[in-house]
Amino acid sequence: MASNKVYWKNEADLLPADSNIQQLRDNEFPTEIPVDEFLGDKEGLSDSKTNRRDFLKYIGFSTAAASLAACEGPVIKSIPYVVQPERIVPGVANYYATTIANGFDFASILIKTREGRPIKVENNKEAATNGSANARVQASVLSLYDSTRLQGPLSNGEPVEWAILDASVKSKLGALAGSGKQVVLLTQTYASPSTDKLIADFTAAYPNTKHVTYDAISEDAALNAFEMAYGERALADYHFDKAELIVSFGADFLSDWQGGGYDAGYSKGRVPKAGKMSRHIQFEANMTLTGANADKRVPLKPSEQKKALAALYGKLNNSRVSTDLSEAVLAMVDSTAAEIRSKGSKAVVVTGLDDVNAQQLVLAINKMLGSEAMDTAAPKYVRQGNTATVKQLISDMKSGNVGMLIMDGVNPMYTLPNASDFAEGLGNVDLSVTFSTNWNETTERTQFAAAANHFLESWGDTQLKKGHYSLIQPTIRELFDTRQFQQSLLNWMGSDQSYYDYIKTNWTESVLGTDSWNKALHDGVYSSEMSMEVTQEETASEPASDGVLSGAVQSLASASSEGMELTLYSKVGMGDGQQASNPWLQEFPDPITRVTWDNYLTISRADANELGLVNENAANGGLDGSYANVTVNGVTLSNVPVIIQPGQAKNTIGLSFGYGRKVGMKEEMQTGVNAYALYNDFNSIQSVTVEKAAGMHEFACIQLQNTLMGRGEIIKETTLEKYNTEDPHEWNHVPEVSLNHQEVPATTVDLWESFDRSVGHHFNMSIDLNACTGCGACVIACHAENNIPVVGKSEVRKSRDMHWLRIDRYYSSEDTFQDDNIKKDEFSGAFDSKAGFEEMERAAENPQVAFQPVMCQHCNHAPCETVCPVAATSHSRQGQNHMAYNRCVGTRYCANNCPYKVRRFNWFLYNNNDEFDFHMNNDLGKMVINPDVTVRSRGVIEKCSLCIQMTQKTILDAKREGREIEDGEFQTACSNACSNGAIIFGDINDEKSQVAALKKEDRMYHLLEAVGTKPNVFYQVKVRNTNEA
């Protein structure tokens, strides 16, 4: 029986009348391959001279030719110099002393150059002040090779000759001379005697000139307070190494507070010596680097910090100050006051509150104490911005009083909270010129974008601190058609002098006296004794009267503290945001949150719960966070991602500057939100409202486990009291293992025969957890030295970050890590411990924090070496665990077998790959690559080598000179970068070496000692000074 059944696929099939269905059925493949088009034309085909056989011949020939050609090796050209510069030997590095002074970061540094290319920043150890490079300064060398730099001057976005720019500026200067309109120089802080003189000369030539200094992140309050007290617009300097007690009210002095550079001195006082170390009490809202290092941290709203400061002043001054602080805080203030009293001149109080009253009080307290740590005789000049004049400038611009605006080192369209006012004002300015290294928000709006030199291409000088001068010298010729601001000023003044000559003349006339210019240039720094003496007398100016201060106390004590308060801060990695297009810095994990490629709102867990804001881990492990809208004074930043931050004071939030830049940046670099929009009245403390917004943000956070869960053997710590009184075995307990049913110290049990390392060098590294502040300079230094690739946000989110050196940050889940250990030990039974451990995953409300730099531990009995199937990783007699990249086949067994998780895998080719469009993908960016270290390819493991290229070089130098190696000659990139003295590297076979002595210290321990890997990196137990008074 024939079937009449019709099978239908779709309801519409049942209506055969529907022509659409028919059509769809017929045209299952939408377009036919147009065979006829090229085969249908028979005539054309037959006329063609190429027949099928010829076609095959061509194919055959070209295949054969291609494969033959592929057999040939490439021809490599070598092009020597025509005239080789005297001091350049190919293959030998030269070092030049210079200074970074970009308006935010000020440091005396050394630049390592190879074949004329600057490739690395090192600390200038001869500098008495600001001789240490922080993470941003370490990374600044890469900004020199930024492919998005301006390559020549632009006029309204179109390339233009310098001559035309000069002519327009000069004619305008001439035209404005008679009119009542101003010529305004809006610049960064230079702290430069020569630039000051030059601007004075320029003003003399064009008397209608006005100089306005503008700091993106202002220290106006501190400057004003200092000016009131000491008659000079500067910042007091602090020697934290001389302080036995440091009390800070919201001052993040380990990062960028008042220009930064205080961490080396701080660390010096933090290492217990002869049973003594400094004590540090921190009152703050955000969890900062400084708070994380404090012995006692008190989370307080900024307004309450003001009250606490006022109350403290009252206690010390024996005057009654009534505040509405809670009992607990008042008790804390009382005990702090008692401690300060007992320490007297050995105590110091600092504050980061953007409030002139608070700054005044602090100066008064230190003066009252006679604090040895505060130095007002030789103050610092690293911040000079004056917000009043900036405000005045904007109103002048708006009213059309400004004829010409010349800007250098500033980006007001990005950094001003009222950028729209500035833009409006710019419209009324006849001629505007912006000196900038990059195309940015401001160059976009101004008539001329004058391509400026990077600081490594510039001449300059600075006086970072009274009497402490330093020089900026170029380490490479201008890469592009750029010119620095000072040289342009000279040109516009009609002078044909070079800025170099100008500085030299100025120095020989007024700085150097009889000392040598060449020596000063060689050293990069110069301290003048004479000017120091002069300042001694100046300090005798009258102190602020009590009347003024009591007013200050009153206003602080009555600060209103309702609602939420926002504290804006600068992140260690990004600062004020001028290096936002630097991939090293974007990928640098924040020391506290460990988040890369973002800024975010930090909020306490209690507030987050109230607002319904969450952090959670996605299925792939990545961290997700809610979005929030933040409103300050009518300005709303929407969709700010939220991080729940342990230690954040209740009813406060934090947000960092430096992100949210868009103009002139590669798309991947356009991260975060612009917090300057909320920087109302240049005050970092704002009253704020927060509400939840829809959606979740994907973070690239490299540490997902935030607590130690009571595993005290990872970060060992103790209190100063125990350290002083108890046997080291008590607080630095060597783990025990069971051998033949007896508990024995783990260090005595060994599976392997030990290797004889007594001959030659045996490298060890000591990491002092007391001296390490977690600043991360070493991370970037390692990045630069070892050609570590940048992998981008999405890869970091997949935990594929490539940093050879990471700084783990742990929070305690109880109040202290000690309590964690106790809690863990007291678990009884599986259920108890399961519930307990779950609890311990969560950090405490105000946790203790510990930082731990971890790189390859170079185990003498390395687990990675035994599992490599191709012997790509092997051990050396010198204690370094070698990694032969070309031998590695990428099984990743080693990474899996490494107890420290320090091995990194090249999941992709990170150079010459458009998918990773960072510095290694363009010729300019590749100039930063260290020629002594292999650039790794896809599919191989890499890891810390203890900078074997540096140790080998030291050895070779000694061999060539036929001498023994002295202690201190052996260095690694991280030990060189660490001005805190936390990382000490050396040869333990040299008994006189510092590292050999450190290995015998009571505080010495190895990471995961129980595993028996016998690492060549060791740590020093962290000691906290919990002694109250």
Binding site: K77, V759, R963
Partner: protein, 457 residues
């Protein structure tokens, strides 16, 4: 494109023959020159100076800045005495005082002295107070009538070795021809003997059995039947081909013998061989750096400011050189290439500033993953350059002598005993290690020279 040199034995044979024939022609040339000098001496005796001594003095004192027939740092000096007398009216006394103290004459305001000083970029001539008037006479005699340049001598001798070479070629052919003849005769004799024997056999009635041979199985069938043999030979063939394939593949990327054509024909043979210039005079960074460095052109100009032409070795170009076109003119043209690259104006003896860097083709090329440091080997270990680079002083065109493979490196590190004497760095290490291994001399391997990370990082 890579061209690889395999030094054939025939060419070696040829060069030996050439050297032999050149030795024969040497005497002839020496006689020529002696005769020419004798003539010159005779001619100049009347001028009051000895041109032979003068030549020696000239070469010692003047040649760095002066040539006879061309401007260099200073003016051309041929017939300087007569030229000055005729053009400027200056006598020999002027010359004496000028040579002994030129600066004094300039400051005293002598007109011609100042003119010359200005003309030659205000480079004052070195004073020669040690030269006596007689010495100056000798020099002037030499400049007045220099001994005839040995150019003709070279030209005449050039033909002789050519002839010698061709004659030696003929003898070779004769020998070969004779050998072929002898061989042919032998073959003929064998055939003849064979036929004669056959005839004798036939005559004696001996029948050669051919039928038997036909019954035997063909050898290939027998082979195919013997499976064991087949198996063995297949295994053998496989092993052999694997061996050769391995050998072939292992030489991929090994550029031993790589001898590219360079933009300037620079002869190490002339510089390091004939003129015995120390390697590290030009490759100075080998002492202190990982790179040996290709000398920058200003280093070339240290000498080539005054060496503007190639005069050949005294024996004149060899037949082999001539066959390759390496004539004196050829080399001189290469020097001109250098001048062009460095931007040197020969006429005016100054740099024009228009330079064009030379793009040499790199010969020795280690992969990026291997770290090699010249100074370690040259300065610390004191290894001769030739150990790795071969007989550079004999290389007309530079080529890669060593394979530069890791096996080659390792082998040397295993075998070479390191010189640790008089190096304070090694003192302790040497003592401890020699005790440990019980040897007096240590190899690089015993010092840790085989560890991966020493070269790969």
């Amino acid at each position: 494109m890579k061209k690889v040199l395999y030094r054939s034995q025939i060419s070696t044979l040829f060069s030996f023959l050439l050297v032999g024939s050149l030795l024969l022609t040497n005497n002839l040339f020496a006689q020529d020159q002696a005769a020419a000098e004798a003539v010159a001496t005779e001619a100049d005796a009347s001028l009051g100076g000895d041109p032979v001594k003068g030549k020696q003095l000239f070469n010692q004192n003047c040649a760095a800045c002066h040539a006879l027939d061309r401007k260099m740092t200073g003016p051309a000096l041929a017939n300087v005495e007569t030229r000055l007398a005729e053009e400027e009216g200056l006598d020999k006394e002027w010359l004496y005082s000028w040579i002994k103290n030129s600066a004094g004459m300039i400051s005293s305001g002598d007109a011609y002295a100042n003119k010359i000083y200005a003309e030659y970029n205000q480079a004052a001539m070195t004073a020669f107070p040690t030269l006596s008037n007689a010495d100056i006479d000798n020099i002037l005699a030499y400049t007045a009538a220099p001994p005839p340049a040995p150019v003709q001598a070279v030209a005449t001798t050039a033909e002789v070795p050519g002839g010698a070479a061709s004659s030696s070629g003929i003898t070779n052919e004769v020998i070969l021809g004779a050998l072929v003849l002898v061989f042919g005769l032998l073959v003929m004799m064998l055939i003849l003997v064979n036929t004669t024997l056959k005839r004798i056999a036939e005559a004696n009635g001996v029948v050669v059995e051919k039928a038997k041979a036909e019954k035997r199985m063909p050898i290939w069938k027998a082979f195919a039947k013997n499976q064991f043999l087949v198996l063995c030979s297949v295994i053998f063939l496989l092993l052999a081909s694997a061996y050769y394939a391995y050998g072939w593949m292992m030489q991929i990327g090994v550029d031993q013998g790589y001898q590219p054509i360079q933009p300037i024909h620079y002869s190490h043979k002339i510089h390091a061989g004939d003129n015995k210039i120390e390697c590290k005079y030009c490759h100075s960074s080998a002492r202190v750096s990982k790179h040996s460095g290709i000398p920058s052109l200003n280093v070339c100009m240290n000498c080539h400011k005054s060496i503007y032409e190639y005069k050949g070795n005294p024996e004149g170009p060899s037949a082999e050189d001539l066959a390759n076109g390496y004539t004196n003119e050829f080399y001189t043209a290469e020097i001109k290439k250098l001048y062009k690259a460095v931007g040197w104006n020969e006429e005016e003896q100054r740099y024009t500033g228009e330079s064009k860097p030379v793009e040499w083709v790199r010969i020795h090329n280690l992969p990026d993953l291997a770290y090699f440091n010249h100074s370690q080997h040259v300065s610390v270990a004191g290894i001769e350059c030739q150990t790795c680079h071969g007989p550079v002083e004999e290389m007309e065109i530079m080529y890669q002598y060593a394979p530069l493979t890791m096996g080659w490196c390792i082998n040397c590190h295993r075998e070479t005993e390191v010189n640790l004497q008089d190096n304070e760095y090694y003192e302790k290490i040497h003592k401890a290690l020699s005790e440990k291994y019980g040897v007096e001399k240590l190899t690089a391997a015993q010092l840790g020279g085989l560890e991966c990370g020493k070269c790969h990082y």
